[in-house]
């Protein structure tokens, strides 16, 4: 069993072998996180690199509070937020809005499990602001107050964007599940 504390110590000393070990151990989980915050795998990998640089440069500030993995995920999410501010926020994107909703159709009637790819597709289709809010609230578990501060938006904006995002997602999931008929 490799001692995590030892590895961290070596990483702080800039030991490349230790860093590579840490990277290989956690990269796939963290890449999964990044994928949710990016448009495609390639952007996700760029984000991952940036995040890992931050991780390695700040390992000495990991105080052992909570697990290393969670700490790394937090750094990765922060990286995603910075990325959003720097790159995505200003990109043109069209909102998927207002597809016809069949209100008689309930999603919990259907046994269909949605695949990860389908879910990823759906949130990929959200405009970047909605996607950020949704990710942070629904998956990362941040509160709206925290999200507002991180994304530099009003708390009410965060709330309304979140409910809007959910509505859109719901509509899309209903559409998808219809195909199982």
């Amino acid at each position: 069993m490799i001692d995590e504390v030892e590895i961290i110590k070596q990483c702080i000393k800039k030991d490349r072998k230790a860093q590579k070990y840490l990277f290989e151990k956690h990269a796939s989980v963290l890449l999964g996180v990044c994928r949710r915050y990016s448009a495609d795998l390639s952007e996700a990998e760029d984000m991952l690199q940036e995040g890992f640089v931050k991780i390695f440069m700040n390992l000495n500030s990991f105080a052992g509070k909570g697990t290393l993995t969670n700490w790394m995920i937090r750094i990765m999410v922060n990286t995603a937020i910075s990325w959003y501010h720097k790159n995505t926020k200003h990109r043109y994107h069209s909102d998927i809005e207002d597809i016809k909703v069949d209100h008689t159709f309930a999603i919990d009637n259907v046994e269909a499990d949605f695949t990860r790819e389908e879910l990823l597709n759906v949130i990929d289709g959200l405009s970047s602001g909605y996607k950020m809010v949704f990710n942070l609230y629904a998956i990362e578990g941040y509160k709206h107050k925290e999200i507002a501060s991180l994304l530099e938006i009003d708390i009410n904006t965060s709330k309304s964007q979140y409910s809007r995002a959910k509505k859109i997602i719901r509509e899309h999931l209903i559409e998808i599940s219809k195909r199982f008929d």
Binding site: L31, Q49, E50, N109, L173
Partner: protein, 448 residues
């Protein structure tokens, strides 16, 4: 009955809580690179980084600067190197003696000119000679109303007496005067460029602070009296260019610089085997260039070579421009090009101006090549790949056509001998080297 909000969050949380994606193989390498850069640019006491680098470079720079300062002579106007090849010469024409102040530390003064006396000789008045300290730097040389003065850095002016005065006057010997790098230059010029390939056009800028008649000697026999001439050195060589300034009092100041003119190489070549129609044979290029240290061939088909006399196979016949550029070690270049290098090599087509058809009847028009018989109107040809011949009457009526170069016109139309007279022929085709041709002319059909 809509899907509950909680359900959406559940769906996503469940799905993505253990979402893993294998990163691509090259990702660690890229990350490593970024890390190295980042680590280098951030300070950490234990490892070498950009701050230490800056410190190191500053230390080195400081070291170099201090070393250079102690070695350096005066700055000449080019600012870059110590001009050991530039001197100031002051000549007094009447006495024939000269004083040389050199621009670096090893300056010596030819003796017996400077009036810097070893002792103070108070004659009273403004003309008192003053003791000149051997180590005092000179900041200026000036001629005022016929008298030359040397200004020392302290501001003291010393009179320069360039000649021995009268007999009862003491012959004052001079201690050597040295200059240091704070001496301002009285007469100087800059050249641009200092070296280059012949023919070299050099611009001279005159920074001399004294005004007089300028005379430039360019070292190859050329001269100029312009203040800032431009001169063309047409022949390679090393030239010492000097500028002399003639003062009103008859004294002369001069400065010198060296110019290096490199010989330009000469590109020349010949194509040995210029018949491209023999595909499968290489073409040989013979290099007759002079002064070439590097040969750059371009064969015109997208291929290149740096051999001296290369062989090259062309994949197909066609028009090619072959270019050779030669470069000398100093970087001087020359090039030459043969355009359409294989044009018409062995390709031609010529028609006669008259022919005498056989009256016995039509033939199929095939003639034997080389036969002198002119019963069939046909061309002399070489290297023809495509061929289309038309023959018209004077009225423009097409009376014969052939796509086969081996088949000419026997003079018959619809099995009847055509009338004697002048006909018009026109041929289109293509040679084996790819070149197309269109020719036309008149032919007289002769009957006995």
């Amino acid at each position: 009955m809509n899907i509950e909000n909680r359900d959406i969050e559940n769906i996503f949380q469940k799905s993505f809580s253990e979402y893993e994606i294998q990163p691509s193989d090259t990702l660690w390498e890229k990350l490593e690179g970024k890390l190295s850069r980042k680590e280098f640019f951030s300070f950490s006491p234990g490892s070498f980084n950009v701050y230490y680098l800056v410190l190191l470079l500053s230390a080195i720079a400081l070291g170099i600067f201090l070393m250079a300062k102690s070695m350096m002579g005066t700055d000449d106007n080019e600012g870059t190197k110590l001009s050991t090849d530039s001197q100031i010469e002051k000549t007094d024409i009447s006495s024939g003696k000269s004083m040389i102040l050199e621009m670096n530390n090893s300056a010596i003064v030819e003796e017996s000119i400077i009036s810097g006396a070893n002792e103070i000789d108070n004659k009273g008045g403004d003309e008192d000679p003053v003791t000149v300290n051997t180590k005092e730097p000179i900041s200026d040389i000036r001629t005022v109303e016929g008298q030359s003065y040397v200004t020392l850095n302290e501001g003291k002016m010393v009179e320069l007496i360039p000649e021995v005065k009268k007999n009862n006057q003491k012959l004052q010997t001079s201690p050597p005067i040295t200059t240091d790098n704070s001496t301002e230059v009285l007469i100087s010029f800059s050249v641009f460029p200092k070296s280059g390939c012949a023919p070299l056009n050099v611009e001279f800028e005159n920074y001399s602070r004294i005004k007089g008649a300028f005379e430039w000697h360019f070292g190859d026999g050329g001269k100029s009296t312009q203040e800032e001439p431009v001169y063309l050195f047409d022949e390679p060589g090393e030239y010492v260019v000097s500028l002399a300034v003639f003062m009103e009092d008859g004294s002369v100041f001069s400065a010198k610089k060296m110019i290096e003119v490199y010989a330009k190489p000469k590109a020349a070549f010949e194509i040995y085997h210029d018949n491209l129609s023999d595909v499968g044979q290489p073409v040989v290029f013979l290099n007759y260039s002079k002064g070439a240290d590097k040969n750059l061939w371009s064969f015109g088909d997208g291929y290149f070579s740096e051999e001296v006399s290369p062989e090259h196979y062309y994949n197909e016949t066609g028009k090619y421009n072959v270019k050779l550029k030669v470069i000398s070690d100093e970087g001087c270049a020359d090039s030459t090009i043969i355009t359409n290098a294989f044009e018409n090599a062995g390709c031609q087509i010529e028609f006669p101006t008259a022919f005498l058809p056989n009256i016995n009847g039509p033939s199929n028009g095939y003639y034997s090549k080389g036969l002198t018989t002119n019963e069939v109107f046909h061309p002399e040809h070489k290297g023809v790949m495509e061929y289309h011949l038309k023959i018209f009457s004077r009225n423009g009526l097409l009376i014969f056509e052939s796509n086969d170069i081996n088949r000419g016109w026997d003079g018959y139309m619809n099995d009847r001998l055509a009338k004697r007279g002048v006909y018009v022929w026109k041929v289109r085709g293509r040679f084996s080297n790819g070149q197309t041709f269109v020719k036309f002319g008149n032919v007289t059909l002769i009957t006995k």
